[in-house]
Amino acid sequence: MSRTAAIVGGANTRWGKREATWKDLVQEAGKATFEDVDGLDVSDVEGLFVGAVQPERFANQSHVAPLAAELLGVNVTEMIARTELACASGQAALRYAWLAIAAGQLDVALVVGVEKMNLGKEYMPEMQSTMTNVVDREFDGVNGLNGPSFFTLLAQRHMHEFGTTQEQLAQVASKNKSHAANTDFAQFQQSCSVDDVLESYPIAPPLHLFDCSGITDGASGLLLVSEEKAEELGGPATYVAGSGQSCMASNSVNNLPSFTGWPQATQASRTAYEQAGIEDPVEDLDVAEIHDCFSISEIIEYEDLGWVEKGEGGSFIEEGRSELDGDIAVNPRGGLLGCGHPLGATGVSQAIEVHQQLHGQVESARQVPDDPSTGLIHNLSGSGSVHSVMILERDLE
């Protein structure tokens, strides 16, 4: 890359079951994002990237990037795109913006992620269809595979092959949901014990309800600028030091490379680590926001992001290595389990959290100790078929 880009600020709307439309959420996130950044206003924005998964189904609206441009008054002069990569649409939007800046096409991009998912309880089956459609609908979705019922198969195989326990799964959920108690925009702001998780309804066994992320309305926005522009602004900046993505020609059940792991995460993280000059991620990473759509996901990610040997992810949580004061503080924001998972917004929100952690801007109760300077964000999508990893650093090398 000839040059990189920096996050100079961002903001989340309140997440949860919102009495608001898709358009309301975009406006809230956009306003809050510009208020977070000194020295930039909407007239500086040359590119707009919108992560959104199913506005066609949830909001009966397509062609959403121009709609967001209108709502926020963005006169796009260089590039506008909506990214749809299921649950990883947010990081995909950020990555497009980064590449456009790195290529010299533009200097200032607005990245927005948004999803309106709560349509009322009677329409919950419609919402659940989102996940049923992201796997091969004709041969996998048709059988009722969606979020919980797909990811629980990985949990069952991981337990079967490696002896991972129900308690270890619950420890992940308890950690992240308890972190979210310190996150003012989170959907679930209540501490949650391991027993609370184990006693919650086994909605798709072995996974219990509290092993699952929420159905969430929310939006997040950030401003990504060229390194020259970041220096000119002079405020807090977090640089993209590496970015990797992998999909191994697989989406449907028969073609997934594994049911206990994600070699795509390994490949994407290797690319990102190499670009960022990271040789020992456990040593070098201070904070990570990784895709805990289900508790099992985080355990697999400890392994496949290269932090612990294959099959030992359960011990990583059990030994406290992913706590705020552990080897790598994982999901201090509360992750998807605690904050909820407005699909398109999640990846953007993960990036905002790392930026704010690296600049001491979060509530003190969830601030990662010892002056963190290097973070990772990870977004997966669909049946785990795509993994996206980005390394963020406070200091430009």
Binding site: P125, G141, S149, L153, Q156, P202
Partner: protein
């Protein structure tokens, strides 16, 4: 707008014209908007609608099949019209085993997608047939009845649906006499 047949003029003969309250009318919005047929998750399975209709034709005749590449020998699932390995379109249908083992399974007890709420609870599994591993519903058994490795066999289901086609799909049931088959007699 006035010639729109869906507009009902309920203001009688006295529309507001004097700068007071604006005229009010009622328009009808359909009580129910039918979703496209495709939202039932199943394809239209005949030659008029899909190029893998032979898969469905074979299933209709009682055989679970998939495509095999005549050039590189790859066996695919789901069936294809182009081999993803070598991009050949010289593909032929080959029978899959009708028995296999449970590789992984769960029971959907809530959060079912649209159209499947009445089926809850139901078991969905990954079945290892040898050449391929596919997802499928498992009938005649609950989660507690089953274990990884249990033998299951093919069941063909006819879809009772709103189309005028004789659509079919595949499911599996525990093999009688094998682990997990106790429930098979309970319907």
């Amino acid at each position: 707008m006035t010639d729109d047949p869906s507009v009902t003029d309920d203001t009688g003969d006295q529309p507001a014209t004097d700068g007071g309250a604006p005229e009010r009318r009622t328009v009808s919005v359909p009580e129910r908007i039918d979703f496209p047929r495709m939202l039932d998750f199943y394809e239209l399975q005949d030659a008029e609608h899909t190029e893998i209709h032979q898969f469905y034709d074979n299933l209709h005749e009682g055989d679970l099949t998939t495509t095999e590449c005549g050039d590189c020998g790859a066996i695919h699932f789901p069936p294809r019209i182009v081999c993803p390995e070598c991009h050949s379109d010289d593909l032929a249908y080959t029978s899959l085993p009708h028995r296999g083992e449970l590789f992984a399974f769960t029971e959907v007890r809530g959060a079912a997608p649209i159209g499947m709420n009445d089926d809850v609870p139901f078991v969905v599994a990954v079945v290892d047939l040898g050449p391929v591993r596919l997802s499928a519903r498992v009938v005649d058994a609950g989660y507690e009845d089953l274990s990884i490795g249990d033998e299951v066999e093919l069941v063909i289901v006819d879809l009772d649906d709103a189309t005028d086609q004789d659509r079919v799909f595949f499911r599996f049931t525990p093999v009688a006499g094998a682990d997990g088959a106790d429930a098979a007699t309970e319907g």
